[in-house]
């Protein structure tokens, strides 16, 4: 067992980080916002924490918290102009924001440009990653059962009816964006500190698609679903090694299958049984 864990420790770390990313998107999706900015928030925090660790000597915890804070601040600013957008338009605007963030990262001298930023201390151990995941998971679970959690669900179901019962929908949408940014930020810092090296391309639309796929497959509005989706999609490429270059087809086929036959994702399937 121990052997298995140490052989696959990189994969296990990846699962943990992806689970955090999927959770971060699920927060916005639970409010009904297709705000596809998590990869960008991940990147912002990754760079802030890396530059801070390398140039200013921050330790892991400080670097991660400050990175997440930076992401949260950007989210707060972003929430204002996109406040009125819904659906596809919101998705596109946040994708656009993600591209702008990536381009800034390529061009800002302090980030090392397109070649990436290296020399990041490799101090984000598996323990750190899963401790963070546990804290975030428990926090989201408790939140989901609280009054605020109900406000989020109501906003997703019917914004106008939600306003009609006194819910400040704009605040809910901004709050979920910021909360998602914090979680994605933590994931970004942990990602940076478990690889020596990050590039702007790590945090672009490709990553955002991956996160969205994980959430949808696991089940869009459930924390357990997000984690399940992350687990499945992270280990899947290893399981289908035998497909070689055709590996991606399995991911796409699963996503399509879920959308067509089980739109509430794996978590939804589980709920239907019990």
């Amino acid at each position: 067992m121990i052997e298995f864990l140490s052989q696959h420790s990189k994969l296990i770390d990846q699962v943990g980080i992806n689970a955090l990313l999927a959770l971060s998107l699920s927060i916005s999706l639970r409010a009904g916002s297709l705000a596809l900015a998590q990869a960008a928030f991940m990147g912002i925090a990754a760079y802030v924490s890396s530059v801070g660790a390398v140039r200013l000597g921050w330790n892991l915890m400080a670097a991660a918290l400050l990175g997440a804070l930076a992401a949260a601040l950007v989210a707060a600013v972003l929430a204002l102009p996109i406040g009125k957008l819904r659906g596809v338009f919101l998705a596109i605007a946040t994708i656009g924001f993600g591209e702008i963030a990536r381009i800034v990262e390529i061009n800002w001298p302090i980030t090392g440009g397109a070649e990436g930023f290296s020399g990041i201390p490799n101090d984000a151990s598996t323990i750190w990653i899963y401790a963070t995941l546990t804290v975030v998971g428990v926090a989201l679970y408790l939140f989901g059962r609280s009054k605020l959690g109900l406000a989020v669900s109501a906003t997703r179901e019917d914004e106008n009816a939600a306003r009609g019962v006194g819910i400040d929908v704009a605040a809910v949408r901004m709050g979920t964006l910021i909360a998602g940014a914090i979680v994605a930020g933590l994931a970004g810092a942990l990602y940076a500190h478990s690889n020596f090296f990050i590039t702007p391309g790590d945090f672009g639309f490709g990553r955002m698609e991956q996160i969205l796929v994980m959430c949808v497959i696991g089940g869009v509005t459930s924390s357990a679903g997000a984690i399940l989706g992350a687990l499945l999609m992270t280990v899947l490429p290893e399981l289908v090694r035998f497909l070689h270059d055709y590996r991606e087809v399995s991911s796409g086929a699963i996503l399509l299958g879920i959308i067509l036959f089980a739109p509430s994702g794996i978590a939804g399937l589980w709920q239907r049984r019990t």
């Binding site: 297709l34 102009p81 996109i82 009125k84 957008l85 819904r86 659906g87 596809v88 338009f89 998705a91 596109i92 605007a93 994708i95 656009g96 924001f97 591209e99 702008i100 381009i103 800034v104 390529i106 061009n107 914004e159 639309f205 490709g206 698609e209 969205l212 796929v213 949808v216 497909l243 070689h244 270059d245 055709y246 590996r247 991606e248 087809v249 399995s250 991911s251 796409g252 086929a253 699963i254 996503l255 399509l256 959308i259 067509l260 739109p263």
Partner: protein, 292 residues
């Protein structure tokens, strides 16, 4: 010099336009953002490449690959979108379905052609140049421009003056009313996908020829730019997509020449973001912002 840059921008804009038209046609008719459009764009280029490699003349390869792209689009609709229409799934679910289809197509392409960049055999391409009053253009570029403009012209004619075109516009305006008026909705949608995907495929082949490069990444590079173009032009408006594409083509080539190229792409996305926030209908979009 400025005119030279504008000429280059014209060629780029023409191909962007072909791609963007397909994107916006599908959105106009179905309210779906089809993220598999870029994958068809890429696959058509690869298919044309293989056909040329097998010895077919370029013109024939182009035509066959176009038809392939069209049918692939129809298949895409049958598998990924039509079942969702039947169960009234809204507009965000098909978006995700299109991502699934795109991933499958990427996987197949990677499996068949591998991850490396491919080039057209040099015998297929002409490198001759023409000089027109101080401006130098490649014969290939002119051909590409001509083909692109011809296709846009045909599309315009179809949309304006044929029963199919009227059907497409009717379904785009109001699907229920169109059905009441006797339009065969499913057939119209299938034909829209054929046309849109064929145009997107044509764009892929032409860009592949223009830069003499066909790779797995070409789809993702243009996909997001296509988004910016159709937002600028107004989602659902074909004319808007064309105008937006030429504007983007001009801005891109001019900014390489006169401003640093590194922030070039940021301009497109910055403009797109501003438009979404200030005037979501874009330049010519006929749809008001709809709450999903």
């Amino acid at each position: 010099m400025l005119i030279q840059q504008l000429a280059n921008g014209l060629f780029l804009g023409a191909v962007y336009a072909l791609f963007a038209i397909g994107y916006t046609l599908i959105f106009g008719v179905l309210d779906i953002l089809n993220l598999a459009h870029a994958a068809i764009f890429m696959l058509a280029a690869f298919v044309a490449l293989s056909l040329v490699g097998a010895g077919l003349p370029l013109v024939l390869a182009f035509a066959l690959a176009l038809v392939f792209a069209g049918f692939l689009g129809v298949l895409l609709d049958r598998v990924a979108f039509a079942p969702l229409r039947r169960r009234n799934a809204g507009t965000l679910v098909p978006l995700i379905s299109s991502i699934g289809a795109a991933i499958i197509m990427q996987g197949v392409a990677r499996g068949i052609w591998g991850p490396d960049e491919h080039r057209f055999p040099s015998s297929a391409l002409s490198t001759s140049e023409i000089h027109l009053g101080g401006v130098t253009v490649g014969a290939l570029d002119l051909l590409i421009l001509a083909i692109a403009l011809a296709m846009m012209g045909v599309l315009s004619y179809v949309l304006r003056s044929t029963p199919l075109g009227r059907a497409i516009r009717a379904v785009a305006a109001d699907r229920v009313a169109a059905a009441i008026l006797g339009v065969d909705i499913e057939r119209t949608i299938a034909l829209t996908f054929f046309i849109a995907s064929a145009l997107g495929g044509a764009a892929g082949i032409l860009i592949g020829l223009q830069y003499n490069s066909v790779s797995l990444e070409m789809g993702s590079r243009i996909e997001l730019k296509g988004l910016a173009i159709i937002i600028l032009g107004g989602m659902g408006s074909v004319t808007g997509a064309v105008i937006g594409a030429f504007i983007l083509g001009a801005v891109e080539t001019l900014s390489i020449a006169y401003i640093s190229s590194s922030y070039r792409d940021a301009i497109a996305f910055g403009v797109m973001f501003l438009i979404l926030v200030l005037r979501p209908t874009g330049l010519l979009g006929k749809r008001a912002l709809r709450a999903a």
